[in-house]
Symmetry: D2
Subunit: 122 residues, 4 copies
């Protein structure tokens, strides 16, 4: 099953329940944020060791919830999600040139100088 088929299953789920009336773009975006927060809640108060033991099912379910709302938003807005992700990855590659961002977690707006790449030959 690919994203298009998943979206179809999701629309059928929605329509069987007559929920399209609630699925405005605004409501879907709010709901995606709430699901993202539930994902964040899985990390709350966790030490680094405890982070490794996050239950697979809880994590899978919260990721799935984000995915499902993302598909609904994309469908609503006529966005091809895979195409959009590919394009954004290209943009990011331009915003973060390897020479300036190698090993650096700085935001692109703060990439003022070359990062120090891996090897110092002398």
């Amino acid at each position: 099953m690919n994203l298009a088929e998943l979206t179809q299953a999701l629309l059928q789920f929605r329509d069987e329940r007559n929920w399209a009336q609630f699925h405005t773009l605004r409501n879907l975006i709010v709901s995606l944020n709430l699901e993202a927060a539930e994902l964040l809640e899985l990390t709350q108060w966790k030490s680094e060791e405890e982070m490794l033991e996050i239950s697979g099912e809880a994590l899978r379910d919260e990721c799935a919830d984000v995915m499902l709302y993302l598909l609904l938003i994309a469908e609503k807005a006529g966005i091809d999600l895979e195409q959009a992700a590919r394009n954004k990855l290209k943009k990011n590659a331009e915003k973060y040139p390897v020479a300036k961002s190698y090993g650096s977690s700085r935001k692109y707006t703060q990439l003022t100088q070359l990062a120090q790449p891996e090897s110092h030959e002398d």
Copy 2:
């Protein structure tokens, strides 16, 4: 290009920049939340009419950013995102039986009685 190929392209992007060191599960989940908030920001102060005019590119890019972090989280945690979404959709179908949730926006914990379905008089 499917999600597996997209993930590969994303990992290559990450590794060319030596960013795996920053990509802990916690950091990726925080970043996904920040991208979700940027999506939410597109709706800020907007009237219903203005919501219809949200720029396609901004919306596409923010959806893409959420998607990209979701793929990184899934890769990190060994989650098959499409499978997880399918399973969650099944769970949701059980939590929200049509008879109880038809036309209702109540949370499943508050579905105490039957919703009123279409009422097919004949």
Copy 3:
């Protein structure tokens, strides 16, 4: 009881439970975000009419939770919250001059021209 006294009561609550060990700045900020999301959840799927009927207690409690974490963050970072809020309000007044922002919901970065102010004398 003022904010300083409230903060003292909060620190006592924390210390009686030996929770200071969990209260890193990062953890407190994550928790504040989770409480903000619970506030947002009160609006989920709500129509404008339903928004008017949000239960006073739920809203009070969620606002309180945001407030409590904000006090903990401020205490941790040595911030005088009332002073900070006053200063920020001044900054906002400069970023949003009345002549440019009157009746407009635009972000300050997009305040390119004068808004139409209140009175049209002729």
Copy 4:
């Protein structure tokens, strides 16, 4: 200046700009979430050491923004924020009895047994 005076200054700021029309409860709650996310963004990709160096002004300003929206929400909903925070702290003290929550970061729903307190051997 106390919270009541701060709220008055904030309402004056709002009214000088004719912004009350945008300040629905829903919009204010969304905006508070966006400010909370900006606070979270200050922690993004930061190591524990880098967290210690977060610029005081950025942190102060983001805390202030959360505070300002919280005051607007409270004013809109007729909530006495200090009273609400005090009441919630009392509720929390009941949800998290010292004997069960001492030194534990578990959620109250998972406090099934006594935490191990300091162990006073005598």
